[in-house]
């Protein structure tokens, strides 16, 4: 095991970790704002990526415009999920389990729609910054991977600033912490919940667009992406979006460490074993504060 190999694998782990972090971040945002564990979060990523692919490859639109279109699609999907599924179920006093099952079903539905409308083939988007790599000694890192990491950091920072410094962000926080209190001061709790899902859709689609140049996108990938995001969010603390970022990084690096030190066959085993150990020792996640329920 050489130092070059260690750093190369670590670079892969960090890149993957940021992808998991973004998916987990979207999941955590939605959970904190609505108490809904969105099992279709990975499909937000897939939809965002697929719409970008279609706009770029078939409609021949500029890449930047296509990316905006993909993000808009993720936002719209989030809004539709809240208005058409979550809100009616909440009105009918649906349980958390029912809500989770509904999002699982939505994930399958989205995959089926993508298969019928876009097709079965895998697609890749062009890498941001071109198909170029940066050599750090004998370690090769794709320029796109560095852009992915930087963008993920910007998204996380922007999200923190959004909740702290904007009227909408503070209203969404208030609606999730105390729905009744928020209503009395004139906050539309239902609208804030829609905004939460829109935000989750935006973050999910950004994750999808960033990862697709590296790993591709196909109709069946949603569940695999969701599972990694769930693991990241749970590791970090489901109600703490910033914790999800840390959870994603821990998961990505743990997977790479397993490949490096054990056998590549143990990649998922080691990562999930770590997740279970952390869950036993810290059931609310590494960075969760007091549990809050959303509205």
């Amino acid at each position: 095991m050489t130092s070059d190999l260690v750093f190369q694998v670590l670079a892969s782990g960090i890149t993957n970790g940021f992808v998991y972090a973004l998916v987990g971040l979207g999941l955590s945002v939605i959970y904190r704002g609505s108490n809904v564990l969105n099992a279709a979060q990975g499909d937000f990523a897939i939809v965002g990526a697929m719409v970008t692919v279609v706009m770029l490859d078939r409609a021949k639109l500029p890449y930047a415009v296509s990316c905006v279109g993909g993000i808009a699609a993720g936002a719209l999907l989030g809004a539709l999920m809240e208005r058409l599924v979550v809100r009616p179920m909440l009105r009918r006093k649906a349980t958390d389990d029912s809500m989770l099952l509904a999002t699982v079903g939505l994930g399958f539905l989205i995959a089926a729609v993508i298969l019928v409308t876009v097709g079965k083939a895998p697609f890749f988007l062009p890498q941001f910054g071109g198909e170029k790599s940066v050599d750090l000694g004998n370690v090769t890192v794709q320029r796109h991977a560095l852009i992915l990491i930087a963008t993920a950091v910007v998204v996380v920072g922007a999200l923190a600033l959004f909740y702290k410094s904007t009227h909408l962000g503070q209203a969404m926080k208030a609606a999730s912490i105390d729905p009744e209190g928020a209503t009395t001061i004139g906050i539309d709790v239902a609208a804030m919940r829609t905004a939460t899902f829109v935000l989750g859709g935006v973050i999910g689609s950004v994750a999808g667009i960033l990862q697709t140049p590296l790993i591709g996108v196909s109709f069946a990938m949603g569940i695999a992406v969701t599972l990694k995001g769930v693991a990241a969010a749970i590791l970090g603390g489901l109600v703490n979006p910033m914790g999800a970022v840390a959870g994603g990084l821990i998961l990505g690096i743990a997977e790479s460490a397993a490949v490096l030190t054990l056998s590549s066959a143990y990649q998922n085993i080691a990562a999930m074993a770590l997740l279970i150990v952390i869950m036993i020792v810290m059931p609310n996640g590494i960075f969760a504060g007091a549990t809050r329920r959303g509205g």
């Binding site: 892969s12 298969l115 083939a121 895998p122 090769t140 590296l214 069946a220």
Partner: protein, 379 residues
């Protein structure tokens, strides 16, 4: 509305309803009761890439067969989607077998559904022609279940023969937990026969979205040649992005135009061990390749060829023994040598396929197309 108009409307509605719900079959100049053949394929699920390609070939074969028919009767393919799932395949198979007059079953597309359905057709003595290779040793007991794709031992032998032929001493393997593991097990069994050192064997989960860590370990091993045992384009891209310069060779699963296109520039110079190079078809393949290209405006590849072959094999058999001969006669008639459009079979062999290593065609992706290589493996 007059009675006449009401009746006419009802008849028109009934005709419209029947024509949209009845199984589709193309009827040329043939007539008589259709010969019903059940088809299982994966139109949805992870195997959709394979299954939808096969569907096109099945429909084309039906159209071509029905130009003359089988002893004057048309063939009717009754098609069901198994969703790439063995349980669904069993359910759909049972519904096909419940249809009166089902003569045989073609498919499914994947290994797991094939293993699941073969147990049922075998028990009910229904001839089945599977478009996947033999999976478990237990399948060898199923003497009326025939396979149009090679067993993993042959896929492995094809890779090892090439490595030996090009004098590659240090070979690394990157393989997935599905098809890749099946081939890898066969590579491990046979590897000792060759003067090859396996310097890395890195596995990744079938559902994994990234295998760059495993690719990094392959790179660190400094191989002469890399076996990539996967149907996904991602490992090829990962390896080239990490500047693994060794040649990459892969078996049949990745030899699909959509997969190769998704590899992007990483596909350049990848070597494929498969059967059909439609850009330069051999004489025996020309009819199929030309017909497919004329029908669908694209070139076929191995999975389409396997589906086409299965229909042609059944057609030849039924023309020989008669469409009402019964399962035992149909099975006995298939169980022998068959010169297919793209390869030779011997269904009397224990692997229910009889495909030999020497029947592989080696090609390389160059400049946007498959280019036939002169290498021929020895049996």
């Amino acid at each position: 509305m007059s009675q006449f108009t009401r009746r006419g409307f009802s008849v028109a509605a009934a005709v419209t309803l029947l024509s949209t719900t009845s199984p589709v079959f193309a009827q040329g100049s043939v007539s008589g009761a259709p010969i019903k053949v059940g088809v299982l394929y994966s139109s949805t699920g992870p195997l959709a890439l394979t299954g939808q390609a096969q569907r096109d070939a099945y429909l084309l074969a039906q159209k071509v067969v029905n130009q003359k028919g089988i002893n004057g009767r048309p063939i009717e393919l009754v098609m069901e989607d198994d969703a790439s799932n063995p349980d669904t395949a069993v359910t759909k198979l049972n519904s096909l077998l419940a249809i009166p007059g089902i003569t045989a079953v073609l498919g499914p597309s994947g290994l797991a559904p094939s293993v699941a359905t073969g147990g049922i057709t075998s028990a009910k003595n229904v001839p089945q022609i599977v478009t996947a290779g033999i999976g478990l040793p237990a399948e060898r007991e199923r003497k009326c279940v025939f396979h149009m794709m090679p067993p993993q031992q042959i896929n492995a032998a094809g890779l090892l023969a090439y490595a030996d032929g090009v004098k590659a001493k240090r070979v690394a393997v990157l393989y997935d937990s599905g098809f890749g593991t099946a081939v890898m097990n066969a590579v491990k069994e046979q590897g000792a026969k060759y003067p090859i050192e396996f310097v890395a064997a890195e596995k990744y989960d079938l559902a994994a979205t990234d295998m760059s860590s495993q690719s990094a370990k392959v790179k660190a091993a400094n191989p002469d040649l890399v076996f990539v045992l996967s149907a996904s384009p991602t490992p090829f891209r990962n390896l080239r992005q990490l500047k693994v310069s060794a040649p990459l060779i892969t078996p049949i699963a990745a030899a699909v135009y959509e997969t190769v296109k998704a590899m992007g520039d990483s596909a350049e110079d990848v070597i494929f061990v498969d059967y059909l190079v439609p850009e330069t078809p051999r004489a025996r393949e020309k009819e199929f390749v030309d017909a497919f290209q004329a029908e669908y405006k694209r070139l076929p590849k191995n999975f389409e060829a396997a589906a086409w072959e299965s229909v042609m094999l059944l057609t030849k058999t039924l023309r020989q023994v008669g469409p009402d001969a019964g399962s035992d006669k149909v099975c006995a008639a298939i169980r022998g040598k068959y010169a297919g459009a793209h390869t030779d079979y011997d269904f009397s062999q224990p692997d229910m396929t009889g495909i030999r290593v020497s029947s592989f065609v080696y090609s390389q992706w160059k400049g946007g197309k498959f280019t036939r290589l002169p290498f021929v493996a020895k049996d």
